[in-house]
Symmetry: C2
Subunit: 472 residues, 2 copies
């Protein structure tokens, strides 16, 4: 047994769920964020940044995510301070965007196209893979009264380009339109809003839990209503009726569920294929205006995306999105070549009204959001990200001796003014040590200011040159 | 009197102290942040980003800013959750940087040059001009055991270039070295650490309150000690002794203060001028190794900055920085052409040990920090910032009719692939309305896809061209 005499050292770690990266990883993260931003801006989206914190009343206006909010309190707040409004960290970028749009309504130009790339926070229980702080990259367009449908097609266009730029294999956008589901529900006489939400959430799990489980979940959800459509219980456990088989009264629902899942599981190659298959399906009443609208809108979006590669876009009626506010187009995104990333990397849809409630306006919108940090983390964790540089430096200027410092500085200045990132080595140490430092940091070029020569460490090539003229 | 029939509308505002900008302001803010980042990277600084939150114990390790910390609590935390470590938002970027360096010590390459451009939060009482959320732009270099002095010169070099890129007039870096003050204190027999801190804080106010007030404040601070150097009271009110005239026992301190303020108020044109003036000043014992070191270090830094314009660098011994951890070089920065911005826009200095206490190492460093949001806000508020564009769009492609949509999209795609930021107008409305939209958003070029013509809205010039070839 060895005796450890070394002092036990306490290394403070970042808090669980709050990821942080090494410089070489951060360099890749920055490149990714830059590329995404570049694409967002190439479509004219403008950046806005909202504060990290909002009033709790704003955050909980939709009343659905109480559990996840971090509230802020001053460490040494006194009685006076407690009179102030309670504030908390935003848990997404949509709620603050709604508040922002209402607050600055008269100063914005509509249709308002904005992107946001900020961190959001969720007070989740610490758990593997659950993040409490992460970047989201969102685009949204909102307009007053009516928002043209072609923006529904712009979202996946922009996102496809943005993700394509990250070099993470083939991207597939899966698109549906909730009006088809809603029309279907009408057709089967299901019109209670709460029921529709419960059914939507169940159908959303189709790919994960399969057809039979979805039906059980739908029936279970509906069993919680009595015959007067009042909610009886909502504790999430299956009721006796469900476990003992589907009650007689639910035949209608079973029929609905089986028919809908049938069309949700089909493949649609194009808008024509979609129209043909749905029209020829005898379980669908395509005379329903709602269903027709859904099919028309989805077809328009597919047609607008026909310039993308075959694998890039798919109509997928199983995409319904669990959240309750989408009213038309809905999106999810799959990485076809990254089996480790199973969920949707980027989701969104059209909503009927974003911020109207604040200012007595009707503000429909459409938006989509990349779950950036989760994507980056999964790819990093599974070795898909190559990080070869530990710094942005292109050239290390060596310092042959202390009295060469002025010349080394001068060389560095000349190189910088040509757009290169340059460090001067910090001490007149052995040249081999200085080159070793460049290698360790992933700096590819070493400059000898006494010789006016530059060495490419990858090829070994060494050239005489002028710092004012040199190009990589 | 008019009768308002319009419904009273509640417009939710951002929380006081948490600034947010309109798109046109944000566009300038982004340009500024991009330019600063560009300069930081050109010197080889790598980016790191630390989480918004740290354990309270980490944040209060230096025990000085309790009042300002925002703690985080989950809105619906239960008993179990309360066992977790308490966390709070970081109030600067230095404390998290220290924690980061300790946590990843073995994976970093030293000297470690990093920049950080993140928001920080301070739970200040709401008050005009006090911000609770703001960007800081920091650079720091740390090394193990010894950090070469030329990094002390690199800080102002980088910062000068970074601020110069913002086009905000002449920048002046004011530099001193605390060793001169410390040596001076030794010379007068003042060696108690707490006293030194109190004196340093008083001298720091020289420019603001003047010589006599500084002396009163120093004496007052010292009066709070009894003859055994125990602190008697620290409530900030002047003691009777001070108000009734300086006590006999304080002659030494008065002499110190007058002599130090004398050299602090002098102008030094160069390192030679500095050396000459201090050597010829009979109140200074330049044989003191501490004072000599201070003069040598400050001269070295000045000499390394001799390539900058005359106004850009000034030795200013009145700069001592109130905070207590600087041990050598200290910096402040003045905007010479912006009278509305009175305080230092960018400050920092050398510290003896950053994170060593965590990991049993000696890690000296030097760093400097731009108070970005305050700078931006003051300049914005006083009309120094021109924002002419409300979006990043270069070209608006008009939509002459619905059946031209495919061609308009095609045109936009071609322009984008040449690096332009392009929007297609959202509806086939009157051309004058579409042009009006471009004007309102500050978009300079309007493209007519039916004619393959582009119009420059500033000059009125309209040209036939090809979207694949066109350059602005």
């Amino acid at each position: 047994m060895s005796t450890k005499t070394k002092k036990q050292i306490y290394k403070p770690k970042p808090i669980s769920g709050f990821p942080e990266w090494l410089p070489e990883q951060r360099l890749v993260e920055q490149q990714w964020l830059d590329r995404i931003r570049r694409v967002f801006e190439s479509y004219g989206y403008c950046s806005i940044e909202t504060p990290a914190a909002e009033e709790i009343d704003v955050l909980t206006a939709k009343g659905e995510t109480d559990k996840e909010i971090y509230t802020l309190t001053r460490l040494q707040a006194d009685e006076d301070d407690k009179k102030e409004a309670r504030i908390g960290l935003h848990f997404d970028q949509t709620v603050p965007f709604a508040r922002y749009t209402a607050a600055h309504f008269n100063e914005l130009v509509f249709p308002f196209k904005r992107y946001a790339m900020q961190k959001v926070w969720r007070g989740e229980r610490p758990q593997l893979g659950r993040m409490r702080e992460f970047y989201q990259c969102d685009i949204d367009v909102i307009h007053v009264d009516n928002l043209p449908l072609h923006f529904d097609a712009e979202m996946p266009k922009v996102i496809y380009e943005a993700l394509e730029g990250l070099d993470i294999g083939r991207i597939q956008l899966r698109i549906s339109n909730r009006k088809i589901l809603f029309g279907f529900l009408q057709q089967y006489g299901i019109d209670d809003q709460n029921k529709i939400i419960l059914i939507t959430r169940a159908v959303d799990k189709l790919e994960k839990i399969g057809k039979e489980e979805v039906i059980i979940e739908i029936l279970d959800a509906l069993e919680r209503y009595d015959t007067n459509d009042n909610l009886i219980a909502d504790d999430g456990t299956p009721t006796a009726n469900v476990l003992n088989g589907y009650g007689e009264q639910n035949n209608n629902i079973i029929e609905f569920a089986r028919s809908f899942i049938d069309i949700a599981e089909q493949e649609y190659r194009s808008s024509d294929d979609l129209k043909e298959k749905l029209t020829n399906n005898e379980n669908i009443d395509t005379s329903s205006p709602m269903i027709q609208e859904g099919i028309e809108e989805l077809s328009f979006v597919l047609d607008e995306l026909s310039h993308l590669p075959d694998h890039a876009v798919k109509a997928d009626l199983s995409i319904v999105r669990g959240l309750d506010y989408y009213t038309g187009t809905v999106y999810e995104t799959q990485l076809l070549d990254i089996p480790e990333f199973k969920s949707s990397v980027c989701s969104g849809g059209r909503y009927d009204d974003l911020a109207g409630s604040y200012i007595n306006k009707h503000l429909p919108g459409v938006g989509i959001s990349i779950g950036f940090t989760r994507l980056f983390d999964v790819l990093r964790h599974n070795g898909y990200i190559k990080n070869t540089k530990k710094c942005p430096t292109d050239v290390l200027v060596v310092l042959p001796s202390e009295d060469m410092r002025a010349i080394a500085n001068e060389t560095a200045r000349a190189l910088r003014s040509n757009g290169h990132n340059v460090e001067v080595y910090h001490a007149p140490q052995k040249i081999s040590k200085q080159i070793g430092f460049a290698e360790k940091k992933g700096i590819n070029y070493v400059w000898f200011p006494d010789l006016n020569e530059v060495k490419n460490l990858q090829t070994g090539e060494q050239l005489k040159t002028d710092p004012k003229m040199w190009e990589k």
